[in-house]
């Protein structure tokens, strides 16, 4: 390279670097081990930097929240005391109902509900751009987190693990443009596919124009995709548009606030039945 003119030398470097990265992209889309190994190596080498940034972010976030919480704590305290008294009464009643439910289930010979086995993970970092909606968890293969495992949070479905190395995993959120989940409207039983749109909205597809769906309807996972367990919240219908096409345009607001996730649950063993009595109605 010494005898080459500097401008040409730059050109050679450019071609070499771009070709190398084209090979990497192609290998990655074909799931070749070399690209994944290099990606894992880069991630492992830079993990302390990302962890430091995330740690500092957590501290700033925590401090801001602490100040905000102090502000409202006094008013909340009074309200919560009243709420606590009310809930104590409700809890006693719920316990009695649970005992009754158990007795009735046994009477009917029904199978006891089995919650899916999960691993809790903290969010290290997240990307919520229009092209990409993903987050990185501090759990990986060493904790039983494998690709294609569903990720849940309090309230509903978060997304799916797409890549996992030893101690971290990348999760594609429901709102990512490449995301999809089988959903059902429990009120009426109409089923469709819920896809991400890159922003903060989801869209439900493949429902006929005469499907009974109304703004405010809740959509839950149907389990038909074989990835997500049945009965977990996906979102609520916020916009319904009946156009000339065979299917109405149904926009949903995700059940979980994907922009403010701190801890999530990764399902590490098969899928299980619905988590609650939020029964999915039979298809019409």
């Amino acid at each position: 390279m010494r005898g080459i003119h500097p401008r040409r030398r730059d050109g050679v470097w450019l071609v070499v670097l771009l070709s190398g990265q084209l090979v990497l992209m192609s290998a990655h889309t074909r799931q070749a081990n070399g690209a994944t190994a290099l990606e894992n190596a880069v991630a492992a080498a830079s993990r302390p930097l990302v962890a430091a940034g995330a740690g500092l972010g957590r501290w700033i976030d925590g401090s801001l929240r602490f100040v905000g919480e102090l502000w409202v704590a006094r008013r909340e305290n009074t309200r919560l005391r009243a709420e606590l008294d009310r809930l104590r009464t409700g809890l006693e009643r719920a316990r009695e109902l649970e005992r009754e439910n158990e007795r009735l289930r046994r009477l009917l010979g029904m199978r006891e509900h089995l919650a899916p086995a999960t691993v809790a993970g903290s969010v290290i970092t997240a990307v919520l751009s229009e092209q990409q909606q993903m987050l990185v968890l501090d759990r990986g293969r060493a904790d039983g987190v494998l690709p294609d495992r569903p990720v849940l949070a309090w309230g509903g479905v978060v997304g799916r693990v797409v890549e996992a190395n030893a101690h971290t995993a990348k999760v594609r959120l429901l709102t990512d443009p490449s995301s999809g989940i089988a959903g059902v409207v429990p009120r009426t039983g109409w089923e469709g596919i819920v896809v991400g749109r890159g922003g903060r909205r989801l869209e439900m597809l493949y429902l006929p124009a005469y499907a009974e769906v109304l703004p405010g309807d809740r959509v839950v996972s149907s389990g038909l995709d074989g990835v997500f367990p049945k009965g977990f919240g996906i979102g609520r219908v916020i916009h319904l548009e009946e156009g000339a096409s065979a299917s109405p345009r149904i926009l949903l607001e995700p059940e979980v606030d994907l922009g403010r996730l701190e801890e999530v649950l990764v399902v590490v063993e098969g899928t299980a039945p619905a988590p609650s009595g939020d029964a999915v109605a039979a298809a019409p």
Partner: protein, 165 residues
């Protein structure tokens, strides 16, 4: 020493990206801190450094913030580094207005390349929102102009105090 400075710049950018993503993930999508080291070397007309730093910045970004195609961000940033360095060797862009314009241009070119490469790789595209692209370009242009001006000032101060001693 130069290599160490480049590595420190990349480390700071990566740390900053993860900090922004942690504090405000939605706002984090508006700024691309990994563009800063690329712009720094590119605006000085140092093509090989801009390409190398762009490649490293892109691969780091891909490893942490991308799920669909490892290497895509690296490809874009390498090309952007080289293009900016080529432009900077012909025009004097290393001043306030030049930096602002370069930052904005880098974001628009980055988005264009993203669309083209995603199309080539048959990866799902997000929605096309010109106002969002315009805002991102403006935010990153201002970021490039202010951060690079600050860095410049720090370096000059350092040189002056070294000369005095």
């Amino acid at each position: 020493m130069r290599l160490l400075a480049a590595a420190a710049g990349l480390a700071a950018a990566l740390g900053g990206e993860s900090l922004a993503a942690r504090v405000a993930p939605a706002a984090g999508a508006w700024v691309d801190l990994m563009l800063l080291p690329v712009a720094w070397y590119g605006l000085q007309g140092r093509a090989r450094w801009a390409m190398g730093v762009g490649c490293a910045a892109g691969l780091l970004h891909d490893a942490w913030f991308r799920v669909d195609a490892f290497g895509l961000e690296g490809f874009k940033k390498t090309l952007l580094g080289w293009s900016l360095a080529s432009l900077a060797s012909r025009f004097d862009l290393n001043q306030a207005v030049g930096r602002l314009a370069s930052g904005m241009l880098l974001v628009v070119a980055d988005q264009g390349l993203e669309w083209a490469l995603r199309g080539l790789l048959d990866v799902a595209q997000g929605p096309w929102r010109p106002w969002a692209l315009g805002m991102r370009a403006l935010v990153n242009g201002v970021l490039v102009a202010t951060v690079l001006a600050g860095l410049d000032r720090c370096l000059r101060r350092g040189e002056k105090s070294a000369a005095r001693h």
